[in-house]
């Protein structure tokens, strides 16, 4: 497996995606929206909460932070779907497969094309969010709330895993459909476990503290591994050329 070959494919896909305005804007708008919207809410709660604000705020802030995980899962679906369905529509997989590139390198390239821009956007958004939130709650807490261990686990463990999970599901689904819209519809099931997790966290069971987040991360990692083997089996040249529609 040559990373350089995979990166060549990823770069090509990213260039193609850049011309798809909808995908590109979502990549910028969603993390920016989460940052600006939630830090404004935090500022509002901090300013109107009075003396109890200092104890009321942390659960809100943590819940808001979780949205970066949801963003990391939702943003790559359309890129990954285009990466596969786009090649199917253009019938460009056969010439691509006829170059000295392994199936694994192509698959990795497709995954990177969705993973890298998504995580760049999510991380950039989260830095902005942490800065704005700190600025808003400085007066209330008297210390900087971010960075802390919780958000580090969210951003560095859970978000990348959620992103990978979503990329893999999108690739597997895209192999079986012929248009991007239905790929995205099927890939929509991706969010179900995340939303359930979010709601459960809001209700306080399980509490989304760093230990629990790491456990959840571990479960995610197992799912990601299992999906990886399905994805590699699906993305096999013989399958692609003789079974894919």
């Amino acid at each position: 497996m040559r990373f350089s070959q995979a990166w060549l494919i990823a770069r090509h896909d990213i260039r193609l995606i850049r011309s798809r305005k909808g995908i590109f804007y979502a990549l910028v708008a969603m993390p920016l929206g989460i940052s600006l919207g939630f830090s404004a809410l935090i500022a509002y709660i901090a300013s109107s909460g009075g003396p109890t604000a200092a104890s009321a705020l942390p659960p809100y802030i943590d819940a808001f932070s979780f949205w970066f995980v949801i963003g990391a899962a939702s943003l790559p679906t359309s890129i990954a779907a285009y990466g596969i369905v786009g090649e199917k529509v253009e019938k460009s997989l056969e010439p691509l497969l006829s170059t000295p590139t392994t199936d694994g390198e192509i698959l990795l390239g497709k995954a990177l094309a969705a993973f890298v821009p998504t995580m760049a956007a999510v991380w950039a958004g989260s830095v902005l969010y942490m800065g704005l939130a700190d600025w808003a709650v400085w007066g209330t807490f008297g210390y900087l709330y971010f960075p802390n261990l919780d958000i580090a686990v969210l951003l560095l463990v859970l978000a990348p895993l959620a992103c990978l999970y979503s990329v893999e599901v999108s690739i597997i689904v895209s192999a079986r459909v012929t248009d991007v819209r239905s790929a995205q519809q099927y890939a929509g099931v991706i969010f179900l476990p995340l939303i359930l997790l979010y709601v459960a966290g809001e209700l306080g069971k399980p509490e989304l503290n760093d230990t629990n987040l790491l456990i959840i991360g571990g479960v995610f990692a197992l799912i990601v591994l299992a999906l990886f083997s399905t994805a590699t089996r699906t993305f096999h040249r013989e399958e692609i050329l003789t079974r894919w529609k």
């Binding site: 060549l8 253009e90 460009s92 056969e94 010439p95 006829s98 170059t99 000295p100 392994t102 040249r237």
Partner: protein
């Protein structure tokens, strides 16, 4: 690699219970243009996909450009040595001609200088240099086909597979692409050409093979024509006499001569050698020859005859 570009033996591909390609054995020498003819569903594309290591073979062996197909260690090397124009061109429509070629050159591992030089040379040869930055989507079908052929050549492969390059093109575009093929032939490229078009095969190919799941025959177009037809000499006489017929029969063997009006139809084995003797015999027997011709069969007739025979239940 002393000249042999493809050496296939008993190549077979089954999809479930369907045998798409059955026991195909063929050889292709360096510098040769080989035409692979066959009706829809004959297995041409499947054969090319096996030879380019895109799909696995069910049975048989093949050495292609010095690499053994189906041997994992050889696969990348093989794909670096060959170029493929697939049945569907598969260009990135929103990218320019230049970008399409550039991407494939990069995937082939060309250094930037060689890459730029090759892309420019090819686009100029294809008469597309002026349009290099326009999205391929704005091109005509013939132009797209040329971009795809250029893409197959970008890394200077030693063997090129072209799967029906002129199918689905209007006559003018087909002519444009055929000129490109003749240009490649002139450059002494080694080409494996799948085609439906017999006229094209005749004009471009040194040898052709006719496929219908099994390889029915292989040979130079002229040789195939001769093999099937050349074997009938037609002599038109002033008047056909009993004496002439008997003399000719004595010469070529009885049962080989047929009389039809003022004509004699004679089965021969080697027309070039036998015809002068036949003429002498007729003259000696008192016949007056008005015309002596060889009944000729076109490649098209050879093709149709073989394909048709094959369609009959065994």
């Amino acid at each position: 690699m002393s000249g042999s570009m493809i050496h296939a033996e008993g190549l077979t591909k089954r999809f479930g219970t369907l045998t798409a390609v059955d026991q195909v054995s063929l050889d292709l020498e360096e510098g040769e243009v080989f035409g692979f003819l066959g009706p829809n569903g004959a297995g041409k594309t499947t054969t090319v996909r096996m030879l380019t290591s895109l799909i696995s073979k069910t049975n048989g062996t093949a050495l292609v450009a010095g690499c053994e197909i189906g041997r994992e260690a050889d696969e990348l090397k093989l794909r670096g040595r060959i170029g493929l124009l697939p049945e569907n061109v598969g260009l990135y429509e929103n990218s320019s001609a230049y970008q399409n070629l550039e991407y494939f050159g990069q995937l082939q591992g060309l250094d930037p200088v060689t890459l730029r030089r090759n892309v420019e040379r090819l686009l100029r040869t294809m008469d597309l240099w002026e349009k290099r930055d326009a999205p391929v989507a704005t091109f005509s079908k013939g132009m797209k086909q040329k971009v795809a052929i250029a893409r197959a050549l970008v890394h200077d492969p030693i063997l090129i597979f072209l799967d029906e390059p002129t199918a689905n093109l209007d006559p003018e575009a087909a002519k444009m692409v055929r000129e490109v093929l003749l240009g490649l032939k002139k450059e002494k490229r080694t080409i494996f050409l799948n085609t439906h078009n017999l006229d094209e095969a005749q004009r471009v190919c040194d040898r052709v093979g006719i496929l219908r799941t099994r390889l029915l025959t292989v040979g130079a177009p002229r040789e195939l024509e001769a093999r099937m037809s050349g074997n009938r000499t037609v002599v038109r006489l002033d008047r056909v006499s009993e004496q002439v017929v008997r003399a000719v029969e004595a010469r070529v063997g009885s049962g080989r001569v047929e009389v039809s009006g003022d004509q004699l139809l004679i089965d021969v084995e080697d027309a070039d050698r036998q015809n002068p003797a036949i003429a002498e015999t007729i003259v000696a027997a008192g016949g007056r020859i008005r015309q002596l011709t060889q009944l000729s069969t076109s490649l098209e007739e050879v093709y149709l005859k073989l394909i048709h025979e094959e369609a009959l239940p065994a």
